[in-house]
Symmetry: C3
Subunit: 402 residues, 3 copies
Amino acid sequence: MQDGYSATKIKALVKAQPKGHALLRGFYKDPDIYEAEMQTLFGRHWLFAGHVSQIPNIGNYILVEFDTESIIVTRTEATEFSAHMNVCRHRGSRICLEKSGHAKSFTCPYHAWAYDLRGNLIAAGQMEAGFDKTAYSLRAVQVENIHGFLLISLADAPLSLAPMKNALGDILPIFETENLQLAEMKSYEIEANWKLAVENYQECYHCAPAHKEFAQIHAMARDLPRFKALKSEYEKTMPSGGIMSEKNGYFDLAEPGAEGFQYGRNPLLEGCQTGSKDGTPLAPFLGRIEAYTGGASELMLGPFMYFLIYDDHMVGYRFRPTAIDRCVCDIYWFVRDSARAGQDYDLEPLTWLWDVTTEADKTIIRRNQAGVNSRYYKPGPLSQMEHFQQSFLNWYLAALGR
Amino acid sequence: MQDGYSATKIKALVKAQPKGHALLRGFYKDPDIYEAEMQTLFGRHWLFAGHVSQIPNIGNYILVEFDTESIIVTRTEATEFSAHMNVCRHRGSRICLEKSGHAKSFTCPYHAWAYDLRGNLIAAGQMEAGFDKTAYSLRAVQVENIHGFLLISLADAPLSLAPMKNALGDILPIFETENLQLAEMKSYEIEANWKLAVENYQECYHCAPAHKEFAQIHAMARDLPRFKALKSEYEKTMPSGGIMSEKNGYFDLAEPGAEGFQYGRNPLLEGCQTGSKDGTPLAPFLGRIEAYTGGASELMLGPFMYFLIYDDHMVGYRFRPTAIDRCVCDIYWFVRDSARAGQDYDLEPLTWLWDVTTEADKTIIRRNQAGVNSRYYKPGPLSQMEHFQQSFLNWYLAALGR
Amino acid sequence: MQDGYSATKIKALVKAQPKGHALLRGFYKDPDIYEAEMQTLFGRHWLFAGHVSQIPNIGNYILVEFDTESIIVTRTEATEFSAHMNVCRHRGSRICLEKSGHAKSFTCPYHAWAYDLRGNLIAAGQMEAGFDKTAYSLRAVQVENIHGFLLISLADAPLSLAPMKNALGDILPIFETENLQLAEMKSYEIEANWKLAVENYQECYHCAPAHKEFAQIHAMARDLPRFKALKSEYEKTMPSGGIMSEKNGYFDLAEPGAEGFQYGRNPLLEGCQTGSKDGTPLAPFLGRIEAYTGGASELMLGPFMYFLIYDDHMVGYRFRPTAIDRCVCDIYWFVRDSARAGQDYDLEPLTWLWDVTTEADKTIIRRNQAGVNSRYYKPGPLSQMEHFQQSFLNWYLAALGR
């Protein structure tokens, strides 16, 4: 089964999955499952390509890569973007070789077929008579700019982004997310199936045992009753609406045919202003924020991209598979666009928390993969602190079994 | 075929195997065969976990690992042992991370589920109401202590060890095998299917061409008529019974439903007292032995574990697959428990013979794998000196085709 | 599917292939396709083993290796050669361990089974009564010497070489190809399916964009009208017949049941005498050549071996798969047998052009593989400059779908 997968086998595995439990071994190990995921999840849902500030000028591009796929995302006009498969329409060579850069057009390095920024074939030498350039544009990929976040979809009929846009239309302007700059980006290779990495991100049941740095800052690392109490106290100190709006359209809560999203704000522990080693400030305030609020916002844009928005910086977590048993977590650190490195912020303290946390997670997740590889692994019941992961699993099973 | 295998295909391959010949290519290359072996051979037969002296105190543990599996073997009482799969019952993480150590209980590093030394779940925070800890013990593995040798079985209904215990009950006390200490252990990674490594161990047809060091010491490296003559002479010099008892319950000689074993004693070449570079002594006598006897004993405990017992030390050889085309041979060097390193024995001379021999075997076995990988490989007939290997193959084919 | 492949699936893929286009993804990715190729293409067609000068004396041998296969090619008499699978008939070990050498007989390093240079088993100790040595010769491989080129075929009924011999009988003596010596050989590992490497060699559509060094010397790097004009001018300066004979029996032009071949001569660019950095001479003239002719000959011997014959040296390109997604291009540099290194030629300038060109191709071909790995890759139409590759693809599809 090279280019396809056995839908019958997958449906049987989905049916065998016990409710409320961790996934069965096959979901992490079966190549048919992985192929189906690439086609029906990563080929259908919106993926985070990057932030508009990463490609500020016309002709700037970035690549998005997962599994065997590579997509070129380009700024074509002051406020317009295009995205295309990075696969030549002649004999399939990669066209763009650098992960980011600037181009007036894209010329395939193999036989010099050239494409404009919109993917139209503009040069192809020595072709037979009757060759029609217009039939050989690069395969187009949908791209959308949501308050500075560039999302792409490989689907022919992409999921609707309208509910996400509506829900976040009042919130993202608070942080002026379009006016950010990327201070640092780092890719963490994780020797595990991508779901184990995503599931790890989705629950804070492991925060207290495994992440003492995080647990010193974030209330959500506390047990559920304590977290609920802290959150309730925090909500009293903050005006409702605006930054405190809860927006839940994630996973199994998403409207049919629409992409999932989520927004909410949680308290930091007492004395913590932001996600730094000692809780003290890291960078100038984002957007319209004028004072530390003692909280941080969770933001989810589609199933594979999560943000944590502190008052003075934003961290992004992008998950992308590279093989059935390997994935990458790309971490982005954003500050407001006017901030100057070395003066208004320093990279080391800015990146400290999520670097130590993600390095720890790499180890944790690899051990989880080692265990689920066992023929004697049996999925156990999820805890109360794994409800968000449970929602992901419900969505995943439904999407795969469709 | 992820979690199962095609029994029909395997039966056809077993049927196609020519009698008295090396195995067909498919037995070394087909992933279905390998999966069947893991389930029906390694999941059913007794495996050597280690020696009691490796875990002397309550709470001491060692891991046994093969393929995707990891088992924790622990001393729970002065003379009691337990074994469990090293897979958390929550979401499947590895629990024990060190190959050996000491623990009062086992706490999973992921979400802090904790198990006592007998595998009972004793802590699991934040679970839903109605969660019953008693239903989530670690998956138990059978463990038995036979005169200091710890054997484990993953089977629900393990093979009987009674014939082995009966047969060896008069013999192992001669060497006081429970009163040994592990002087050294070394793992040799072999780039070949595990059967090629085991087959290599089982025959001495290659000893003269490939192991000049071994061939200078052991009579069994001589051709069959010469070996038989030397053995016959040796037997005349030794009182029958006891150390000279032959116990054959190996492979196709094993009782139905019982584990295989073997014991026998063979002469060393003239002038050799033990397995050392010049045949001179290496360490204090084992057990009740009071003088060099000019021989060494072969001991087999289950299909994957072999020992060679000289008068003054014992060497163990454990074979375990790590993938279809890779395995490990763990070599153990034991001396009597009262011997002091640097005074009563030195590691370098003690380990010399089997280190050079096993390093040579790594190369030999890798070349064998390279050849059987060929589409043009055709299994040839076994020689008279490969009778023990033939018994292994008979058993293997019967076990696989069952 | 370990030892076989699904012919039905392959026929369906062949049927789905669009005419005149690059190959569908499955041809580069499907393990069944690869297995079929190894059996029906590499197991059936003639492969280049080397040049007679590489094994000048009786007992000299070279190995030919591809995928899981290894073949020993030996000089058995002053003008006779033999070839055999490098797989012991006992338990399958590799016998010959060095890539080239000298032997009086071949003794398997495992159990000392010994074979004479013609592959006959001459020693096998300790076998059971009735063992018949004559039944255990090494598996024979056909070998032919064509004007110094040693070709081998693994087929039981090899393709006829008569048309090739007839066609080249007037031409190879011009270069006295039997009187060459190997000045240098280098193996380039390419991280791509072997067909992408062969296709790359077969077309010069990419020469201008990708190989500026080659394009400064060879007219064939020019666009088709310009190349045709240069070739036509060149033909006027040269007497027809002899070195200028065109011999086309390649791929889909080969006679049924016969091996493919090709010979032709193309102009170098003005001022270039040979394939050197500045077009100046590199070594003494080959064979009967007495003056630079301003051209170079293309020679193809079977589907996987190509030569470029300049007036003063010959370069050979051998393609062999090592796995579905990896192959090796072996490059041979030959000069006339009387030439002395350091005096009549220097290695660095001799090997410069094809070393830089092949290093560039390694990168180009790997990028092509990256692109065809994409689920969104769609084969495009071939250009006029890819007609030779088209012939290869026609042959390939017919051979595979047979």
